[in-house]
């Protein structure tokens, strides 16, 4: 964990988000000693082995790791989608028993309702909660504007591009004002250009509304661009290898030298072979 000290000296400017306060002692989301086995007739896989992770309020956490490291399983446990595991999953101090609006999820596949137009999709969670129509319209308008989709509010899902679908999912998740937004490889299926755009857009949105985000990805650079902290996981069994602080000014772009350096450091952590790379660029 010498890396942590390195990155702190590299910090070109602290965002101030992670700055201390009384809330820092109390994690928003606490996953403690999580162990998860998948049992099938043929084999018994240890997907997560004694994983402990604490997410502080207003923090942007990225979990990165190769496929099979259990990162999505960990997110499903936080979401309450997966409720069968050993260990303790607490949200705001209470055990997670199932899915809830306060822990909204953005999925990798566009999990949108095809029979509803964009507006109605974003409105969905608010309608379930019984928010009055007038209020609903305002909230939806605000969130559509936030993801630059105001012009498409009457479009149906099949008329949208992949990137637009993910923006609708983001707006739908944020509209219910979740206490934490869980994002499961939301940009993995997009082309490189769209992915870059959405990373930038997500940073802008997050800077504006400052919600807590737990973001799972297998893309190292994406994790470094988005995260306050990057959790590096290793597979078989799924374990947390290290947690790397990213104290870089936002918005960050894939071309930032510091991003490239930190991504190299994270990649080294992931592979853990050879020698740690020297930073190529002076800050």
């Amino acid at each position: 964990m010498a890396l942590v000290a390195d990155t702190e000296t590299q910090a070109a400017g602290l965002t101030g988000r992670a700055a201390g306060g009384p809330s820092e002692a109390e994690p928003l989301l606490a996953l403690r000693g999580i162990t998860k086995r998948f049992r099938t007739k043929r084999q018994d896989t240890l997907a997560l082995d004694d994983v402990t992770l604490e997410v502080r309020p207003r923090e942007f956490i990225c979990i990165v790791g190769p496929s099979g490291c259990g990162k999505s399983t960990l997110l499903n446990i936080a979401a309450g989608i997966d409720t069968e595991y050993d260990g303790e999953a607490l949200f705001e101090g209470t055990p997670i028993r199932g899915m809830a609006q306060e822990r909204a999820v953005v999925f990798q596949e566009p999990a949108l309702f095809p029979w509803l137009n964009v507006r109605a999709n974003v409105e969905f969670g608010l309608k379930l909660r019984g928010v009055p129509q007038e209020q609903r319209r305002d909230i939806v308008d605000r969130h559509l504007a936030l993801v630059n989709l105001s012009r498409f509010d009457r479009a149906y899902i099949h008329e949208l591009s992949g990137g637009m679908k993910q923006r609708v999912q983001l707006a739908r998740g944020l509209a219910v004002e979740p206490h934490v937004l869980l994002m499961d490889e939301p940009f993995a299926a997009l082309d490189a250009q769209t992915r870059d755009d959405l990373q930038l857009e997500l940073q802008t949105v997050w800077t504006r509304i400052g919600t807590t985000v737990l973001f799972v990805t297998h893309n190292v650079r994406e994790a470094v661009i988005l995260g306050d902290r990057v959790v590096v996981m290793s597979p078989s069994p799924g374990r947390i290898k290290s947690i790397i602080d990213i104290n870089l000014e936002r918005p960050r772009t894939p071309d930032d030298h510091a991003v490239a350096d930190l991504a190299a450091a994270v990649r080294y952590e992931l592979q853990n072979t050879g020698v740690a790379p020297e930073p190529r660029y002076a800050i």
């Binding site: 909204a104 999820v105 999925f107 309702f113 029979w115 969670g125 379930l128 149906y156 008329e159």
Partner: protein, 264 residues
């Protein structure tokens, strides 16, 4: 799509002209063949005579009464089959035991041509309204059951999950996700069910029932009135096309607009 409905485009006008031209040509050739008397007028009537018969039988109320009787049976039988089919479909979709047992029976009965229920219906209910409604019911129930089952089974688990993370209760999940997600499959199943119901109704009426379009065909045959037979067939075609276009055509267009794929 919406704007083109309000203002027919150049292309749509051309299409309408093409279609109208086709039918005009068919009637013209038919008329020429009828006048030339290539075949005996007792076997092949001219369109003028068929339309005259159509007019007479509308005026004397035969067609209206027949239409009313047939449509009433159809509506009653189809409504019952919707309730029964939906129940069977939901049962087999949600219960594994029901799927393995009742589901197999449903699949088997679906392959049975529905008019073969007629002898059974006559033995059970006699020569009555109930017998013909029963045949209609059997015609469409299984199509609707199968589409209800596959519509419910076909719900992507991801959508149920998305609804859950947005706070849906079990009841809200059914109301706002499961039911709307079933619509494309249901439209297909109900369309198929309707066509089976309509065909078996006509066959049933032709065979034994008094009053009804199918019965009128039989009357025409008994009177050796080829004009009437042709006229009644035109009415039967018109009903079929109207229901297909107006009811199911619209439902399919609605599905296409939202889901974005041609249903079927």
């Amino acid at each position: 799509m919406r704007s083109s409905r309000l203002h027919p485009s150049h292309e749509q006008v051309l299409k309408l002209l093409r279609v109208l031209g086709f039918y005009a040509a068919v009637i013209a050739i038919w008329s020429l063949l009828g006048r030339a008397e290539v075949w005996s007028p007792f076997l092949f009537p001219s369109p003028e005579k068929v339309f005259a018969s159509l007019q007479t039988n509308f005026a004397n109320g035969l067609i209206i009464d027949g239409l009313q009787a047939s449509l009433r049976r159809l509506v009653v039988g189809y409504a019952l089959s919707f309730v029964l089919g939906m129940s069977l479909g939901l049962l087999t979709a949600t219960s594994r035991f029901a799927d393995e047992t009742v589901g197999g029976v449903v699949l088997g009965l679906q392959s049975l041509p529905s008019i073969t229920w007629l002898p059974l219906a006559v033995l059970w209910f006699g020569l009555s309204e109930s017998a013909i409604v029963f045949v209609v019911l059997m015609g469409s129930t299984f199509s609707i059951a199968i589409s209800a089952r596959s519509g419910m089974r076909g719900l992507p688990p991801l959508l149920a999950r998305a609804a859950g993370t947005l706070g849906a209760t079990r009841w809200q999940l059914y109301r706002y996700v499961v039911v709307p997600a079933m619509v494309p499959s249901m439209v297909q199943g109900m369309k198929q069910g309707w066509s089976f119901a309509w065909r078996s109704l006509m066959a049933g009426e032709l065979l034994f029932v008094s009053v009804g379009l199918g019965h009128l065909l039989d009357v025409g045959r008994n009177l050796n009135n080829i004009n009437m037979v042709f006229a009644i067939m035109l009415v039967i075609i018109a009903v079929g096309v109207a229901v297909d276009r107006l009811l199911f055509g619209r439902a399919e267009a609605w599905v296409r607009e939202r889901w974005g794929f041609a249903a079927g």
